[in-house]
């Protein structure tokens, strides 16, 4: 399955596991890399020293390429970027910030840089900043999300039209069929979040994984649009936000309700009531907690079967 994305990262399958807060530790990242994809560590929920530890553990657990996702608004961003360079990480996905700020620094140190966007404007900015590839993420994705609410189906062909560099699709992808669809739309790889958040190797709390498996259609919604939009799974905290938004609460009040540490409380500590539960729409079709290797095998099999059926006409 060789294309520009698999070649860029030197991996077998153009499948990236998202660098998700409180899910994407060294166990998940190394398992995905060992299965032929690209595993990412999610630095967004790691203090400096924790990230250093996970990078070391990931190196020990796999000799395959892996990467780190770094939200550019991270408070200790300077320390994080220097740690990444010093610890020999070769691939960095940046998100939530201006791609122009760190791309040159990382590339000067021989690091492959990918930037995550949710619209064509930032896709162009990222390409101008010299990134090696782009992740374009649609409205259906879990967690923080774009203001335009553009879905993967609408976003990918549009981004493909305006930039020529390698393109990874994210949002709504939890099957080989969806992976094939992403490639049909013009992407060359996929970044998968929710499906890996629910694997055995994910750092998330068991209670959160079970909630993903139980989640039904319509159980996630894009909330907090007056501050930073985020896709949340329904629950007690979700209802608090929903009620506040319905009566017209402003950004300040929403931020106050959110407070601090809610994502950790939910995803990592397993508090399904008070916690902020970030997950994608595809949680509705995820029906088991499985090992990464099994998930990867199924993705590839589904992809090949779907491709066969496209090749040999229609059903």
């Amino acid at each position: 399955m060789s294309n520009r994305i698999s070649q860029l990262f030197n991996i077998q399958y153009p499948i990236v596991s998202g660098g998700m807060v409180w899910c994407s530790g060294s166990r998940l990242a190394s398992a995905v890399s060992n299965a032929g994809g690209l595993g990412l560590l999610g630095a967004g929920s790691m203090h400096y020293s924790v990230l250093a530890e996970h990078i070391a553990k990931c190196k020990a657990a796999t000799d395959k390429p892996f990467g780190v996702n770094v939200p550019l608004l991270y408070p200790e961003i300077d320390k994080i970027m220097h740690l990444i360079v010093e610890s020999g990480v070769k691939i960095v996905f940046t998100s939530a910030g201006n791609p122009a700020t760190w791309t040159s620094f990382l590339k000067e140190h021989g690091i492959t840089v990918v930037h995550v966007v949710s619209n064509t404007k930032f896709a162009c900015k990222a390409a101008e900043a010299g990134v090696d590839a782009i992740v374009a993420e649609g409205f259906e994705a879990g967690g923080h999300n774009g203001r335009e609410e553009t879905t993967t189906m609408a976003l990918i062909p549009h981004v493909r039209k305006v930039v020529d560099i390698p393109l990874i699709a994210a949002g709504g992808i939890a099957s080989g069929q969806a992976m094939l669809a992403a490639l049909a739309l013009g992407a060359e790889g996929v970044q998968i979040g929710s499906l890996f958040a629910a694997t055995e190797e994910s750092s998330a709390h068991q209670a959160f994984k079970e909630r993903i498996v139980q989640a039904k259609e319509g159980d996630t919604m894009l909330m907090m649009k007056k501050t930073v939009p985020v896709r949340l799974l329904k629950g007690a905290f979700f209802e608090l936000i929903k009620e506040a938004e319905a009566r017209g609460a402003d950004a300040n009040e929403l931020k106050e309700i959110l407070g601090k540490g809610r994502a950790k409380q939910g995803i990592f500590d397993g508090d399904m009531d008070a916690g902020e539960l970030e997950i994608g729409q595809v949680s509705a079709v995820i029906d088991a907690i499985r090992p990464v290797a099994e998930v990867m095998t199924q993705l590839i099999q589904e992809f090949e079967t779907a491709r066969e059926s496209i090749v040999h006409g229609f059903r």
Copy 2:
């Protein structure tokens, strides 16, 4: 391009033009049918006598199959259904209502029945009601939309999992690449709205077509979620609704602001300020008003090119 959908309708390409209010008259429907797709008349914006006229005109303009889209909440639904039977229409798409109410009646009269859904629950209900096929429409689609906000990418594989009957994807489809993606996801045909709304043959006002062409990313949003969710293009009316929703207006106030006849005012009469402008997210990539035949040719060419590239490996 023979599959269950093209065979069901006896058409060349599994491409349906949506039965859009104030756009889908006999000119558009017959042009799509003449180009090898399935054209639909949009009964939702037609009085009884107007629909009778459009059916007659459509018959005169094409000897190919065409159909009628009927929202089941239509006030004169009895008269409309009997007109359809008496005038020899062979294909009916129903939407916005319970598929169990009219399916048997239509099928007893030898009519092929398709029901439009936005979730798996109604997909199952429609299959149980005995419809011949389903349209599953995602969040990115224009006009009225599902409460779950499930996108096409997430919806189609889920619907495919729960029903076996022929499946048509809608929402976010304005290119052959997206058509191929829909088939990869498990659909067997596509229903396309926005792209046909902007064609020369569409009944929409020229000013509305030009606004579709000008529309940028993020220029449509799903509004009116406290009553009936509808995807609208930004403009003066949109801003009214947005302001009311931001301060927590309830369903009654929103309905009052909406009033009556806003869609006609915008789409058909061309009032870009006071009118309700229903269109999909893909309006962001539609860049010209073109004849239907040209649009259809391009869709097929893009589809074949994208399919070739999927068949012969990756770029």
